[in-house]
Amino acid sequence: MKEVNARGLAMKKPRRTRRASYWLFVVPATVFLLLLALYPFLSLIWMSLSDVSAVNIVRGGWPFVGVKNFELIFHMSDALLALQNTLIFVAIVVSVGMLGGLGAATLLQAKGRLSAVGLGLMVFTWAMPPVVLGSLWKFLLLPNGLINDLLVHLHLMAKGPLWLVQGHLVLLTVALVNSWAVVPFSALVYRAALVDIPLELLDAASVDGASKFQRFVRVKLPLLMPITLILTVLTVVYAFRSFDFIYVMTYGGPGVASTTLPFLSYRLSFVNYKYALGATVAVFTILIVFVLAFVYVRATKRTEET
């Protein structure tokens, strides 16, 4: 230990010059992201303040219109519905995704072959292309598909619901499928955190007479709080960005019943060619997401300090 310190002192000068050159390693990514992330991002903001159509989108030279697009958006009934849908969607995906993940992680801690199979299936599901999962669930949820067959055969319902047709049910259905897809991720994160809990702590609690449930609530849950905070923000952001499942399963419909803010900005730009309005919805969405990002950075900082 001492030797290393002494060496460190003796080497002070060359070490400082070496430290100075570390930023060189970051240059390629910086240049790349400046060109393909920051510049497009600024261009998006500029678009939301301009008049951009299919004619001038690539050519440039967009007329500046100030906040006119934002005024249009705030008076657009579709946009208000999309905001409402987004909030409902996020609430469902986050609550089901997190609770499901915690539940699955707790179950999968058990050793055994069945547990390994379950974990393997979940990781594989996470890895599958979202378009495949979305198409698959659209098929399983057909009016006479597997899910409704099961409901009828198990005598839970006389006739299964029209999951992806009935207006008020569609958003819930897509949100639940999306939650199913995100549970493997939160389960993996929770599982890693559960493994890190010192066994001595749990054993001590059970020696003191704590039941399994008490050990879960009193010992595990408090220790899982920091990771829960981070995971919540990650899941909120994931749900906020979610696009693939909606695109494949409902295309935002019927009508705008399952249109969320990201889908609306896509539709406005690439289906209706109202690029400026699409950009405005996107900027609005990013503003909301950045507020969440702020919470995330605070949360990570706190866990790194502890």
């Binding site: 992330a37 050793k111 199979v117 889908f263 969440l292």
Partner: protein, 279 residues
């Protein structure tokens, strides 16, 4: 040894077995139906989409083979995801190293920017990217998609790779510099080989993500003949009167590379995902 004796690592109780069994069904059944439906003929799927007892048929696979786009689409998928993986990991490795070792403000600032970038919805970035790639004459080309995908996955890649650098003691660089190795040599000869585990993890994750990406593909590629498989799947479903057997066959073929990566790298995926999320 200690672990086996502990109370928490005990064998599953009957109730938790029921719970695990439910999970296996919840994630297993959809996959079984995906595979089964791909081997049904269309009449059978139409009459009874939920059925599992059927006469096997290759109609679905024949149908996608007849369309003649599958080989090209698979090639496009491979070009996009291999290109994206190489570029993303190639840029990501030095970035993760530089960020981790510079510490202080650059690290905090860099990580903050990466986290922010990761949070921007893809639907928001595609609108201006369309314009930027258009100005560079890259619309409608596979390199255009590779660049867009790289910008999309680079922040995530760096966040996954960084803890693997953080785990390497700084004494490595000190020892190397005493031996006369410069920063670059130390990085290329010593650090990169030591990061191989993290690099494999990041590469598998990026490959999976870029194989499944379709929004950039359908927006940037103007000609469906240049679509990757994911984009092809996304377009088949929107048409009314989908051939489910054909779509499921396409989905099975499109998932095979994922299966391979999964078989090779399951453990890495599991640990890499939780690592990138938290650290």
């Amino acid at each position: 040894m200690k672990r086996a004796k502990s109370l928490e690592a005990k064998k599953a109780t009957p109730w938790s077995l029921v719970g695990i069994g439910f999970l296996v069904l919840l994630y297993g059944i959809p996959l079984v139906w995906l595979l089964a439906t791909s081997f049904k003929d269309n009449r059978e799927v139409f009459a009874n989409p939920g059925g599992i007892i059927f006469t096997p048929s290759f109609q679905g696979y024949e149908r996608i083979a007849e369309q003649g786009t599958l080989g090209q689409a698979a090639l496009n998928s491979a070009i996009i995801s291999i290109g994206t993986t190489l570029l993303t990991v190639g840029i990501g490795i030095p970035t993760a190293y530089g960020l981790d070792r510079s510490r202080g403000t650059l690290l905090t600032f860099g990580l903050g920017v990466l986290v922010l970038l990761q949070m921007i919805p893809q639907t928001a970035t595609i609108i201006p990217l369309y314009r930027v790639l258009g100005a560079w004459k890259l619309l409608g080309t596979l390199p255009g998609v590779v660049l867009a995908d790289t910008a999309l996955f680079l922040p995530f890649t760096v966040l996954v790779l960084r803890p693997f650098v953080g785990g390497l003691p700084r004494e490595i660089e000190e020892a190397a510099s005493i031996d006369g190795a410069g920063t670059w040599t130390t990085f290329a000869r010593i650090i990169v080989p030591l990061m191989s585990n993290g690099i494999a993890t990041a590469a598998s994750l990026v490959f999976i993500l870029s194989w499944g990406e379709f929004l950039y593909a359908i927006s940037i590629l103007t000609n469906p003949a240049t679509y990757p498989i994911s984009a092809l799947i996304s377009q088949q479903i929107s048409a009314y009167g989908t051939s489910w057997a054909g779509l499921m066959a396409l989905a099975v073929v499109g998932s095979l590379p994922i299966l391979i990566v999964f078989v090779v790298a399951q453990k890495r995926l599991a640990s890499g995902l939780s690592l990138g999320a938290v650290k």
